[in-house]
């Protein structure tokens, strides 16, 4: 079926449900300004990232690096040093991208930050390998040794060098286990533990930078740069990945209030806590949850809020809600969560929020469990009645989770709503039901004005890619598409 449930009518006020306080609609042009500012921040981050690599090399030059090139051997050595400096700088940038720094999250979003993090993996490994090889050749040439004996010499003779070799092996292990082909063969937990070795790899690489390389030598410019970037990276990782989650967990004191069935294999987990007013506006964004029960506490779950936090007591007391589908062994346990289980949280993360808006009009396209964060966003993101459209896709009506709540919200806020059900189309527009495509419907038929709207897409990766391709063809520009990976 392909049902238009609601026409684009102004908000019907007599819904009979407790009245939502509708979000304040900002002045025209506000979203454009917000977008420009975000792009400015993106450019700033780009400049900082490039400039940091340039600075690492420039400071070496400033300390007379280029003046040491007096022979072919010295040329190899210098190239090796430059590769090492750039490699180390990239590794630190990768750690910063994965540190969940709010400024980065607010600007490009958690998933894009991790995407860049992944893209830097191979280049930094290549630079570090080049660093090792070039120096073995350069040092070897200076002493008349072949690179292999020189490497053995370095290992045996020079203090801290064996640690640097260990560090290199760890870096190789981390990058190899992150390759898509390799990663698929192992469970997430294995990859995660190997990935933690990155910190060991960085830690074991630092001694030789002190004793053999001159990165921290007194009287050099480099010393201050490397001290600053290392200390900043270290503290950012410790603060945002460890300290802040602990503080948030203590601050909100979340416990499981109830688990209610939504559909077969899908539940709402409602949590009670305090100071939830501080989390206002986070509906749709995701948190990483840990349910502190035996056998579960170590398993992190990235779930988006499926409703805006509800505050109804003193000190911001209230409830949060996530909607979860039984996807794996980890999620299966969640269906049987006990009331009163304590919950640790990290977040909010991601840009599936009003912060990503660039236009006044909004389109939300969700499939399966991906519908649920859109439900929360629909509650809070500002638009005038008639300027929003919601498309829900599922095999059957039953798979359109929270459809009744969404219907109520659409009625209250004046939103066009379509339920797209039935078997999927083969051939073009595979994100649509077969019936719609056969009848000649495309994205534009549902949302004629889509090219002037922000398009939020949430659902399985292949499905979402298909939606995004269609949206692009309909004239939606890249910055208007807001998509977050959901199939973790």
């Amino acid at each position: 079926m392909n049902t238009q449930l609601l026409p684009a009518s102004p908000a019907a006020s007599s819904s009979g449900r407790p009245e939502l306080s509708p979000p304040k609609i900002p002045a025209r042009g506000w979203f454009t300004r917000q977008y420009r500012q975000r792009m400015l921040r993106t450019d700033l981050l780009t400049v900082i990232a490039w400039a940091s690599v340039a600075a690492a090399i420039a400071l070496w030059l400033a300390d007379g690096g280029a003046t040491t090139i007096t022979s072919p051997a010295a040329l190899f050595t210098a190239a090796g040093i430059v590769a090492g400096l750039a490699g180390m700088d990239l590794v630190l940038l990768m750690l910063l991208l994965a540190a969940r720094i709010p400024f980065i999250d607010r600007t490009i979003g958690h998933d894009r930050a991790l995407e860049f993090h992944g893209k830097l993996g191979k280049p930094s490994l290549y630079l570090l390998l080049a660093h090792g090889l070039l120096l073995a050749v350069g040092y070897g040439m200076a002493e008349g040794l072949d690179p292999v004996s020189e490497s053995i010499n370095l290992w045996v003779q020079v203090p801290d060098m064996w640690l640097a070799f260990v560090s290199m092996a760890l870096f190789i292990a981390v990058v190899v286990t992150s390759l898509v082909a390799v990663r698929r063969r192992f469970p997430y937990e294995f990859w995660y533990v190997v990935h933690l070795l990155t910190y060991a790899a960085v830690a074991t690489s630092i001694p030789h930078q002190f004793s053999v390389g001159g990165l921290f030598a007194a009287g050099t410019w480099q010393r201050w740069y490397w001290l600053a970037i290392c200390i900043y990276t270290g503290s950012a990782v410790v603060y945002f990945r460890i300290l802040e989650p602990v503080l948030a967990t203590v601050r909100h004191q979340l416990t499981v209030a109830r688990v209610e069935a939504v559909a077969p294999g899908v539940v709402n987990i409602v949590m009670r806590g305090r100071k939830l007013d501080q989390l206002a506006g986070t509906g749709g964004r995701f948190f990483i949850w840990r349910f502190l029960a035996p056998g579960m506490w170590w398993h992190p779950h990235p779930f988006s809020l499926s409703a805006e936090p509800v505050v109804n007591g003193q000190d911001g007391q209230g409830t949060l809600r996530v909607t979860v589908r039984n996807l794996g062994t980890g999620s299966a346990q969640l269906l049987r969560l006990r009331k009163g289980t304590k919950v640790a949280l990290e977040g909010p993360y991601g840009l599936l929020s009003t912060a990503a808006r660039t236009k006044n009009k909004v389109v939300m396209i969700g499939a399966g469990i991906g519908i649920t964060p859109l439900r929360a966003l629909l509650e809070t993101t500002p638009f005038t009645p008639g300027e929003a459209t919601v498309l829900l896709r599922g095999h059957t009506e039953k798979e359109l989770y929270l459809r009744n709540e969404i219907l109520d919200l659409c009625q209250a806020r004046g939103v066009r709503l379509f339920h797209l059900t039935g078997p999927r189309s083969r051939g073009r527009s595979t994100w649509l039901p077969e019936e719609s495509v056969r009848n000649g419907y495309s994205l534009n038929s549902y949302v004629p004005d889509i090219k002037d709207a922000d398009v939020y897409v949430c659902g399985p990766a292949a499905w979402a890619a298909n939606v995004i391709a269609d949206a692009g063809q309909a004239g939606v520009r890249q910055e208007q598409i807001h998509h977050e990976r959901f199939d973790w």
Partner: protein
């Protein structure tokens, strides 16, 4: 917008690199400790570069100082109470060349000067600056190259002592 960011980043990086290059070449980097201060003016210490490699002394333990090149200072042989200055071989290490010169008066080493010391980077220079005075006083006390290396400066020490041994050989002490 993406182009703007990339262009800005490229320009900033180029500027930073250029500034670094300028600073590095104008300041000439960090000054090295070694300098040719002692003039080899004493009688008898005339020629350098006649005899071949005196690097055999360096084949001891350290392969960090294996390759030795250059020339040993050749003073007038025979007498054990030679006087003058004698240059050791230039020993190549992975952190730069090392060469020392000794001043001999009446068969005694009265001074050791480092003509070149490991200097490839800030850290090497730091190590050299620390090790050279220690080695010098040890050598002056022992009157030979058979002294302990300075810990944390093994490569510099080995090269220093190898070059020193060559200079001692050249002086026929």
């Amino acid at each position: 917008m993406k182009i703007r960011g990339t262009v800005a980043a490229a320009l900033a990086s180029a500027g930073i690199l250029l500034a670094g290059w300028q600073t590095g070449t104008q300041a000439g980097g960090i000054s090295t400790v070694a300098s040719n201060t002692t003039a080899a003016g004493a009688p008898g210490a005339t020629g350098t570069g006649t005899s071949g490699s005196a690097g055999s002394a360096g084949s001891s333990s350290s392969s960090g100082t294996t390759g030795s090149s250059g020339s040993a200072g050749s003073g007038p042989s025979s007498s054990s109470n030679a006087s003058g200055t004698y240059k050791g071989t230039t020993v190549q290490t992975r952190f730069g060349p090392v060469q020392v010169q000794i001043t001999v008066a009446n068969g005694k080493i009265t001074d050791v000067t480092a003509l070149q010391l490991t200097n490839t980077d800030g850290k090497s220079i730091q190590i050299s600056n620390r090790a050279a005075p220690l080695l010098k006083s040890k050598v002056l006390a022992a009157q030979s190259a058979n002294v302990q290396t300075v810990s944390g400066a093994t490569i510099t020490s080995d090269a220093y002592l190898t070059s020193l041994q060559a200079a001692i050989d050249a002086a026929n002490l």
